[in-house]
């Protein structure tokens, strides 16, 4: 009797299930398995939304049905009795455009699973050969383990995963043709590359995504060799003549905008070239290219601080209410000027209306960005580097057939990072060049390395991809054979010309009197605590004083010799005095403004700090 009772409890546990909908408790169902079957069948026939996913954990007896947003889902081919529902006929119809993806979804041939359903109710086969009656789904392609970006990388099955992660984040920074109507767009920042190329080595998803219509990179002839010291530590040596032939060249667009704003009290901005009577008028030179409407003319060359849009605004604070009716209002200069480092040519000027109905002006600046020392390049294998030397072509090594590399990458970049895909893409690129076709480098299913090598041999190259190179300077044979091939390289948007920044003197902060921070504010580089420690460790006390006082926030404060508090200078009576003890014996003491602030803060705590003065140098 005991035994039957026990089995009864057990049976109840496995079949009876608690049902949750989008995380909320809904109730019980007598037979969990049955409910799951029914829900999935209804989803496939379209009776329930295809956005629904269900999961069932017999161990906890919980059924979770989710229809909410934010779940990551992935498509699979539905399998019934060990046979995929997607047949050859479907594929033919897809090719002839009789069927579309959504039709397959609607027919329940393909369905999207979220993580929970995949984990609890599904058995997924990677290939068709693996299928057993127990399988519920079939993977569409085994390269779908990666995301959109990585799926476009060739031979990524030969690379380590951290490199793929890095490569995919760098690909997002690459310059190319981001939009075809870039000439009509007013993006706040945009790069467009000259002559972008589709890669020689592609993947099936690269084509499916139509990336070859908007490429972001170029095929470089790359030699894996060192070139004097110029490509140490991931630096790159690039052929100067290739750059002159527009390799990696791009144009950078930047848009400045402003609008004629209305203010409470009926006042309004006015777009116009400011006149000298306006408060804050700059040098005349800066306004000279403004048109009658106060906006700059297209195709004018611009340097930093040049005024792009002349604007005059009402004063910030209401001052002197007019006593005799209408007095002329003092107006304030509020023009839009080119920021530090922005050299270029005015590409276009757009006049429009803002959402609030105000007059809106956008000025687009264009500047040519020829690759220069320090610009960043990367292949699609996480191999990034900065330009270290622009080498004249005559100094570069060449092959017997006269090929000169566009780029030389240091061999030390490869082994420790295990990016074999980089090497194989170079081989593939070489084959692609010779055969005049694109190489399929799809992960797991692309053209095999051995086949590439065999084909290379057919074209009269060594199957290793190595060639004998001749020194461009001496003409002598290089002692080692050099691996040389063609690989897709991307220029990344970290350009030196947009980042370069220097300061000798410049603006200081209002509160601390210390130099400002950041490029936009023409700031300095922080001499921090650890840098200070190094100077102390070195014993260079005069250098510390210079860095932290003279070149920072030095001030001269009046200190009362009697009571030790800070004093003031009375400009009317032309004398110094102490507001605390009314003493007049004041000393001018050099100190950091930060210390003066500290004294003020201490006073605000209700503590009276006194400075005891001593003889200088003692």
């Amino acid at each position: 009797m005991m035994a039957t009772h026990k089995t009864k409890v057990h049976k109840e546990k496995t079949t009876r299930a608690v049902v949750f909908l989008n995380g909320l408790y809904m109730g019980f169902h007598e037979n969990g398995d049955e409910l799951v079957k029914e829900v999935i069948a209804k989803r496939r026939t379209g009776e329930l939304t295809s956005n629904l996913n269900i999961s069932y954990q017999p161990s906890t007896g919980e059924i979770h049905i989710n229809t909410s947003g934010g779940r990551i889902r992935r498509p699979y081919i539905v399998v019934k009795n060990g046979k995929p529902l997607l047949t050859k006929e479907h594929i033919e119809k897809l090719k002839s455009n009789e069927l579309a993806w959504n039709d397959l979804l609607a027919k329940g041939i393909i369905e999207n699973l979220d993580a929970e359903e995949e984990g609890s109710l599904s058995l997924i086969a990677m290939t068709e050969d693996e299928l057993t009656p127990g399988h519920t789904h079939l993977e569409i392609d085994n390269s779908s383990i990666t995301g959109v970006v990585v799926s476009t990388f060739p031979y990524s099955d030969h690379n380590s995963s951290p490199r793929l992660t890095m490569a995919s984040s760098m690909t997002k920074q690459s310059l190319g043709l981001y939009s075809v109507n870039f000439n009509y767009r007013q993006d706040s920042r945009g790069h467009v590359q000259f002559y972008p190329q589709a890669p020689l080595v592609q993947t099936s998803s690269y084509k499916a995504l139509n990336f070859d219509k908007r490429p972001a990179g170029q095929n470089f002839v790359v030699a894996v060799m060192s070139y004097y010291g110029y490509n140490m530590s991931d630096a790159l040596v690039i052929n100067k003549n290739s750059i002159d032939r527009a390799l990696g060249r791009s144009v950078f667009y930047k848009t400045y905008e402003t609008e004629e704003r209305r203010y409470p009290g009926g006042q309004k901005d006015k777009l116009m070239a400011p006149t000298p009577n306006i408060v804050g008028y700059r040098e005349e030179e800066l306004y000279k290219n403004l048109d009658e409407d106060g906006i700059i003319l297209p195709e004018v060359s611009i340097k930093p601080r040049d005024v792009l849009i002349g604007k005059v605004s009402p004063p910030r604070f209401m001052e002197e209410v007019a006593t005799f009716g209408i007095t002329e209002e003092k107006r304030r200069e509020n023009s839009v000027t080119a920021k530090g480092g922005d050299y270029g040519i005015v590409d276009s000027v757009m006049l429009s209306e803002s959402l609030a109905g105000n007059k809106l002006v956008k000025v687009k600046l264009r500047s040519l960005k020829v690759p220069e020392l320090g610009d960043k390049f990367a292949s699609r294998h996480g191999q990034k580097g900065v330009l270290g030397y622009l080498c004249p072509q005559e100094d570069l090594p060449f092959t017997a057939s006269g090929i000169v590399p566009d780029l030389m990458v240091n061999p030390h970049a490869i082994p420790s990072r295990t990016t074999a895909g980089h090497i194989i893409e170079m081989l593939g690129g070489k084959v692609g060049c010779m055969s005049g076709r694109n190489i399929n480098g799809t992960m797991f299913s692309g053209e095999k390395e051995e086949d590439l090598r065999a084909e290379l041999k057919k074209y009269g190259f060594e199957e290793t991809g190595e060639e004998i190179l001749y020194d461009g300077i001496t003409g002598a044979k290089l002692k080692a054979k050099i691996f040389i091939g063609v690989i897709y390289y991307q220029r990344l948007h970290h350009l030196v010309s947009n980042k370069i920044h220097v300061r000798s003197r410049g603006p200081v902060q209002l509160l601390t009197h210390q130099p400002t921070e950041g490029k936009a504010r023409e700031g300095g580089l922080r001499f921090g605590e650890m840098e200070r420690d190094c100077l102390i460790g070195y014993g260079a006390s005069q250098v510390i004083k210079e860095r932290l006082l003279e070149q920072s926030d030095k001030t001269v404060a009046l200190v009362c010799a009697n009571c030790g508090s800070l004093g003031v200078h009375d400009y009317v009576k032309r004398r110094d005095y102490c507001p605390v003890c009314k003493g007049t014996r004041m000393e001018r003491i050099e100190m950091s403004y930060a210390f003066k602030l500290l004294l003020d803060e201490i006073k605000s705590l209700g503590i009276f700090p006194r400075l005891k003065l001593g003889e200088k140098g003692k």
């Binding site: 460790g537 070195y538 260079a540 006390s541 705590l605």
Partner: protein
């Protein structure tokens, strides 16, 4: 020797801190990579932090006990002492259940296990008598001991805890005593987990002069500050050596000296070295700014501006290195 002396005005403290801190940053990366490996004694950064914080008790306290020279190479004697040292409490060999109705405690002895530790039921009863002051009737039957307690229920629980904690044998605080053989010297010594020098001292045949623990505070308590300073040095050096990091001992010596300079082991940080700097401004610049400023104002303290931090704050040259020397007019 005079030639090798450090020059006056050399910033030895900063250099020592940098010399220990730089490899310390490298250790962060390395030690946390050993995650998952069963750790015996913490080394690397966690141990280093433990040391400079001068914790009262390390995460893995150890005591090393050497026997007097006569027995130091005698493995058997060492093992005997080790077994005698290892602490066994009642709850290690017995399970205690409370009977609130009869107001008695039933102590069931794991006879096999107890025997391996050399403990009999009789031992247990005598230790109970010895260590509990008020005690009721004790009845025993083979592996069971019945202890009658005539108190309230609440007190019964308290007594249970006391009974469980009754120590049957060995030195309190020491567990897992093992005999270790030193390849280099051919000597044997006993390494025990935990520390309790006060009681270990009383053990016969032990070489008191070689008694050692990785608990620096314990050494300070029993051997004084000089020994603590040496132990601190030894422990820090051991951490660095184990990681294969080369740091000149003199930096470590300076740090150990600084931590022990005030007569007791003080941590580096708010409650120790930095918190006891003589300058108000230097302390306020570190941590708990307002606390230091307010306290200084209550006492009317004066800052003579002799340190480095203070002078940087107010914008003077620091009295160090090139700022140490002055020209005097005649």
């Amino acid at each position: 020797m005079v030639k090798k002396l450090i020059d006056s005005g050399e910033a030895v403290g900063i250099v020592a801190a940098q010399s220990l801190g730089e490899p310390g940053t490298q250790m962060t990366m390395r030690t946390f990579h050993y995650a998952g490996v069963a750790e015996q004694v913490p080394t690397g950064l966690p141990r280093l932090i433990e040391l400079v914080d001068a914790r009262r008790e390390p995460a893995q306290p150890l005591t090393d006990i050497y026997l007097i020279p006569r027995y130091v190479k005698d493995k058997k004697k060492n093992e005997e002492v080790a077994i005698a040292l290892e602490h066994v409490s009642l709850s290690d060999v017995c399970t205690v259940t409370e009977n609130f109705v009869r107001k008695e405690l039933r102590i069931k002895v794991d006879l096999k296990f107890a025997q391996s530790k050399g403990i009999t039921v009789k031992n247990i009863i005598s230790m109970l008598r010895l260590q509990l002051d008020k005690i009721g009737k004790i009845k025993s039957k083979r592996d069971q001991i019945l202890l009658h307690v005539d108190t309230t229920y609440a007190k019964l629980r308290k007594i249970t805890l006391k009974v469980k904690a009754v120590s049957l044998k060995g030195v309190k605080g020491l567990n897992r005593a093992t005999v270790v053989h030193s390849e280099k010297t051919g000597e044997y010594f006993i390494r025990a987990g935990g520390f309790n020098m006060h009681d270990v001292k009383k053990v016969d045949d032990l070489d008191y002069g070689r008694l050692y623990s990785n608990n620096v505070r314990e050494i300070e308590k029993h051997f004084g500050i000089e020994a603590a300073r040496n132990a601190m040095l030894k422990e820090i050096k051991q951490v660095m050596d184990l990681q294969g990091l080369l740091v000149d001992v003199r930096h470590l010596m300076l740090i150990s000296d600084a931590m022990c300079a005030r007569g007791s082991v003080e941590p580096v940080g708010r409650h120790g070295l930095s918190g006891r700097k003589s300058s108000v401004l230097a302390r306020a610049a570190f941590e708990e700014t307002v606390k230091h400023l307010v306290n200084a104002s209550i006492e009317g303290q004066e800052d003579p501006l002799n340190g480095v931090t203070e002078n940087i704050i107010i914008g003077q040259t620091v009295k160090l290195g090139t700022g140490k020397v002055r020209l005097v007019m005649r």
